[in-house]
């Protein structure tokens, strides 16, 4: 067995551990009570949920993201990079078959993601509020993701970096359910509850008519 195959198996194990951990988390949360709301609906719950995942995520939808548009877009770019790295990992055995344009695009997205991640990591150290809010877990998570994206970009560019990329993938994916990165699961719960709550009460989306 070559080192490359061994590292690929390690990455696969990391992926399975991550999926297993997140599944356990999901199942645990789902076993908790979900209070039924019997109050008469004023708005529309499904519209609220749709809003929460679409229009409500736009940079202009919230005062916070309007004020901190650059920080928000940095975060969006960072997360696009993360999902690109995951996608790149899943198709890594077929990288050789990718058109060079697509391969270059992936490298650029991953490099940008890593750059934005590094910016976020530095901000967590130098910016007063972020430093005050951050836990060791936050610092570790942002740098782990940043290095992973950088490794993915490098591996796409130079196959010599594939083994470190697979090893990093194993660590990253296995860590997802353990630390703060698991917010990737709770993001969906949170936005859905947001949409249910505000949609029911006709706050988001808000019909500008008097009923």
């Amino acid at each position: 067995m070559t080192l490359l195959i061994l590292s690929q198996l390690l990455a696969l194990a990391g992926l399975l551990a991550g999926v297993y951990g997140i599944t356990i988390r999901y199942a645990e949360t789902k076993t908790r009570a979900l209070p039924a709301d019997k109050s008469p609906i004023k708005g529309n719950i499904s519209h609220g949920i749709a809003y929460a995942f679409t229009t409500g995520m736009m940079p202009w939808a919230k005062e916070s993201t309007r004020i901190h548009a650059i920080a928000y877009l940095r975060g969006i770019g960072f997360h696009v990079g993360i999902f690109t790295a995951l996608g790149a990992l899943l198709i890594s055995p077929f990288w050789g078959m990718l058109p060079s344009l697509l391969s270059s695009m992936l490298i650029w997205v991953l490099t940008l993601g890593a750059f934005l991640g590094a910016a976020g990591g530095i901000l967590r150290i130098v910016e007063h509020n972020l430093r005050g809010l951050s836990l060791p877990d936050d610092h570790f998570a942002v740098w782990l993701m940043t290095i992973w994206m950088a490794a993915a970009a490098l591996a796409l560019w130079n196959a010599g970096v594939l083994i470190p990329f697979y090893i990093l993938s194993a660590i990253t994916l296995a860590y997802i359910p353990l630390g703060k990165i698991r917010h990737c699961l709770y993001f969906f719960f949170s936005r859905a509850f947001f949409g249910k709550f505000f949609g029911r009460r006709a706050v988001f989306p808000h019909p500008e008519v008097v009923k």
Partner: protein
């Protein structure tokens, strides 16, 4: 571990449902929620960032529920709850958060920080560390519900006197304030004080509404304590009264938390026994104007007027356009604050804060962003459809020398009805030192 801590942790466990666990897990600590909070705007420091406040509860939750946190508590900031921590959590939840949900609306993940603050309030209440005054007020309301005969006679006498005033104001000798009227369509639930009875009575009579006045007040301090058991007992007085009288609808006075709880929570607490439509008085006013049941003069109020969105009515209640519809029909110079509606800033008086004298300085300081907002509109009258908001805006008016008059929507509607005589408080009203407003 002391008994107090055991009770607090047990209460946290009991509340741990899907929405609460999600709120505890979802935060990425990006800090974008900072400026959403009026406490932070007034005094920008890390401790005033909603995510930081929530983190204090998360550290307890992680210690109890997270494997990595049990192995490496420093890594995730996990901590075993102890008495000083509980005291700190209690202070945060009762004095640094008005449960306005502005942070939730501004969070990219939609983290419900007020839900966590409510969880802390419940922990504090159950373990006996919640502010005593809120507990006393809730318990007094429960006692009142057990035996209303104790004060009912006096209440009915006061209503009789008010009825005389009503007839005088409206010039209608048949105008009444019915109490305990069997089979009435509407049960109107006021707040403590004639100012929430007389103006609505004027409107109900003008609209020829089939209504009756509740002998109880709408406010519910159990809600502020996040104590569902107490809140339910307080609400039960009105639910029982509505059932006894056979009304179809409960109309709540201009009160934020009372509206939010009766409209959105009480149907859940009394599932199956609660078949009433619940509306705010504002919705009823909008309907009366829309249907022409009351006549209002849109030129009656010439002063520049602005409207403060109560968080419980607007962001948490969905009553956004109704108050504006009413105001635009009675006011000729209406000015919006910025931001407004679902993005409106909290005045700082919500969550029971106005009842907590020990935190008054903090509350007034946190009201500074609202004071600035009011000042920027240049309005001389601030309308708020919530008693706690009016009290808070009254305090910040005095503290920051805003020189504005604070009023309820119903009072303006009554003024715009151009009745033979004004309401008592509007009589020959001097709004400001430099001007005298003529009341029709």
């Amino acid at each position: 571990m002391t008994e107090t801590i055991q009770i607090a942790l047990k209460t946290l466990e009991a509340q741990l449902n899907q929405p609460l666990e999600t709120a505890l897990e979802a935060c990425a600590r990006c800090g974008l929620c900072a400026e959403a909070c009026h406490y932070y705007r007034a005094e920008p420091k890390v401790e005033h960032i909603p995510a930081y406040r929530a983190e204090q509860l998360r550290s307890v939750y992680r210690h109890e529920h997270d494997m990595l946190s049990r192995l490496f508590p420093v890594w995730t900031g996990a901590k075993q709850l102890d008495e000083p921590m509980l005291a700190n959590l209690t202070e945060i939840a009762f004095s640094q958060c008005t449960l306005c949900r502005r942070c939730t609306v501004n969070c990219p993940l939609g983290v419900d920080t007020p839900l966590m603050m409510r969880a802390i309030r419940a922990m504090a209440t159950a373990s006996g560390t919640a502010p005593e005054i809120l507990v006393m007020l809730a318990d007094a309301a429960i006692e009142k519900g057990k035996d209303p005969s104790f004060y009912k006679e006096m209440f009915l006498e006061q209503i009789k006197e008010m009825e005389e005033q009503l007839r005088d104001i409206t010039g209608d000798p048949t105008a009444t304030i019915p109490v305990e009227k069997q089979g009435a369509k509407i049960l109107y639930v006021p707040l403590a004080g004639a100012h929430t009875i007389l103006p609505p009575a004027v409107v109900f009579n003008a609209a020829k509404e089939d209504w009756t006045l509740s002998i109880f007040e709408a406010s519910n301090y159990g809600v502020f304590l996040a104590d569902v058991n107490r809140a339910k007992q307080v609400a039960k007085r009105i639910v029982d009264e509505a059932n006894r009288l056979g009304v179809k609808e409960i109309v709540i006075a201009e009160c934020g938390h009372a509206y939010a709880s009766y409209r959105w929570d009480v149907p859940n607490w009394f599932a199956g026994e609660f078949n009433f439509k619940v509306r705010s008085l504002i919705e009823v006013l909008a309907e009366y104007i829309q249907d022409g049941k009351i006549k209002v003069d849109p030129t009656a109020i010439p002063e520049a007027v602005t409207y403060h969105d109560s968080c419980n009515l607007a962001r948490n209640g969905g009553l956004i356009e109704e108050p504006r519809y009413v105001l635009k029909n009675v006011v000729s110079d209406f000015r919006e604050m910025t931001p407004n509606k679902a993005e409106a800033l909290c005045c700082g008086g919500g969550g029971g804060l106005v009842a907590l004298a020990e935190y008054a300085d903090r509350r007034i300081a946190a009201g500074k962003p609202k004071a600035d907002q009011i000042q920027k509109t240049g309005a001389r009258v601030v309308v708020a459809a919530c008693e706690n908001c009016r009290l808070q805006i009254g305090d910040i008016n005095e503290h920051y020398n805003l020189n504005v008059k604070i009023t309820a929507i119903t009072d303006l509607v009554v003024r715009a009805m151009r009745l033979p005589k004004p309401l008592p408080e509007q009589e020959a009203e001097v709004l400001f030192d430099d001007e005298k407003v003529t009341v029709a």
